[in-house]
């Protein structure tokens, strides 16, 4: 019983004393400094913070698309060395393959395996069943043979999510996947991704600059502060596991949202901007 408990809380991702410096001297940018973070199995963590605070960089390092310059990062106990099928990524846009139809896009990871002769015919059959299931889950059963440029932005992101899930990744990394969508579509996508999260039992790390989105989706919200990018505060979202759009209007939700927004403003140096505005309006008024 105890041993089982230990297993379930063992972190899926462990980031320790992670640092990232871009460029060679003398033009270096310290994007991340001393990041310590653990993400549990089947946890939904969101990253927020001012623009340029290193959210994408951190996510890309976890995904193995970027390398750290100090510290270490473990995925399932093993050091991350480059990208791998255990950590799928969903991008903001332009990641679908426009020459493949929706179904072929979703099956892309299987095609890679088939290419290497790693699949038996039973696997292939199973895979096509899974692709169908994902297509239905995403609400696109009639779109199987459409090309990406025939789909709306929201539909394209659904396909991108289905494609990422196809290979049953342990970790799903998402970098502002709904950043280009309108507010209504985004709400629909939020409930969809929460449904997927429950069904697929993946661990999700989700980057956004929308605090409401971060709180509605995440179990924890990690706030990064810029220059150099570092973890400022980790908030636990005071919502039950099963989310619901109405919860966005609850007292606790609104209070925490206000607190996080306030903190982002404080850490981002936006204050100087508002000072500047005030100064400007004063000079304009005196003329």
């Amino acid at each position: 019983m105890d041993a089982q408990k230990v297993v379930t809380i063992a972190p899926r991702i462990r980031v320790r004393a992670l640092g990232k410096i871009f460029g060679d001297p003398p033009h270096q940018v310290e994007a991340l400094k001393d990041i310590d973070l653990e993400v549990c199995d089947n946890e939904f963590v969101t990253l927020v913070g001012a623009s340029g605070c290193g959210k994408s960089t951190l996510l890309r390092i976890i995904g193995g698309l970027e390398y750290q310059t100090s510290g270490e990062i473990l995925s399932g106990g093993k050091p991350v060395a480059g990208p791998g099928a255990d950590r799928a990524m969903v991008f903001q846009h332009y990641s679908l393959y426009p020459w493949l139809d929706v179904m072929e896009n979703i099956r892309f990871s299987r095609r890679l395996q088939a290419n290497r002769g790693e699949l038996t015919s039973a696997d292939v059959e199973m895979a096509s069943g899974r692709a169908e299931a994902l297509l239905n889950l995403m609400g696109l059963p009639t779109m199987a043979h459409a090309y990406p440029n025939q789909l709306s932005g929201g539909m394209q992101q659904r396909v991108a999510i289905a494609r990422a899930l196809m290979g049953r990744p342990e970790i799903l990394l998402m970098d502002e996947p709904f950043g280009a969508l309108d507010a209504q579509t985004r709400e629909v996508m939020h409930d969809l991704i929460l449904h997927v999260f429950k069904l697929e039992k993946a661990t999700i790390v989700f980057v956004t600059h929308d605090v409401e989105e971060a709180m509605y989706l995440g179990q924890r919200v990690v706030l990064l502060a810029p220059r150099p990018g570092r973890i400022d505060t980790i908030y636990k979202v005071p919502l039950p596991g099963q989310r619901h759009q109405d919860m966005k209007h609850s007292r606790e939700f609104l209070d925490l949202k206000k607190e996080i927004l306030q903190r982002i403003r404080e850490t981002s140096g936006m204050k100087t901007d508002s000072d500047l505005l005030e100064q400007l309006s004063r000079t304009a008024g005196s003329q």
Partner: protein, 270 residues
Amino acid sequence: MASISLARPGIWAIRGPMSQRRYWLFAAIGLIAPIVLWWLVANSGWVEKVFMPTPGSVWSRTALWWTEDNLLQDAGISMYRVTAGWLLSAVIAMPIGLLIGTFRPVQALLEPLTDFVRYMPAVAFIPLVMLWIGIDEGSKVAIIFIGTFFQMVLMVAEDVRRVPAAQIEAAQTMGATRMEIIQLVLLPSAKPALVDTLRITMGWAWTYLVVAELVAANSGLGYAILKAQRFLQTDKIFAGIILIGLIGLVIDQLFRLLHRRAFPWMHKKS
């Protein structure tokens, strides 16, 4: 309920709409007007026939060329030279461009060099080519090759580089190897741009034809134009130039057709 109906923007609106029929009407005007203008000027007597032949005389010269001077053979040999030079350059430029656009060390090794060489005038290589290759077919193909190859390498590299990073990175996070990314992402993603590059460089290959046929040729459209100059047969010069233009136009349209057929996903919109 008052509804405002907006007028359809006219054809002169910026990027305004135009019906297919009207498009072809304008295209026909654009093609026919210069011929009419030419006919007017040539028949007006303002310019001497030696300088500007009439459309009629160019037409009859073309007919004569066809019946007595083996026009078909001239066109055929020219087409062969252009195609050979262009194909040779494509076969070599494609893999090199792909490598430049994919691997930074290859880019550093070859791109500045290619950039340098492409500014050297292909025409100036003629004496060298004659010295090295001689004056047979190979030398004409070589000139066309020199004229197109270096540009083509750079264009192919750029086509490959323009594949969105997200497409590559998505494949990486699905576990694709380098070879798989090249085969299953870079090449199919760049393919439409590559076909366009082939189409454009084919046009350049034709512009080097006349130059290539300066090299001791005794057949070909370019050669015929040069020979006609010696005999002041302006009408034949016109005929040759127009023929090259027409062949180029047909090839260009064939490439466009191929593009539409091969990449339905680009042209299909719901």
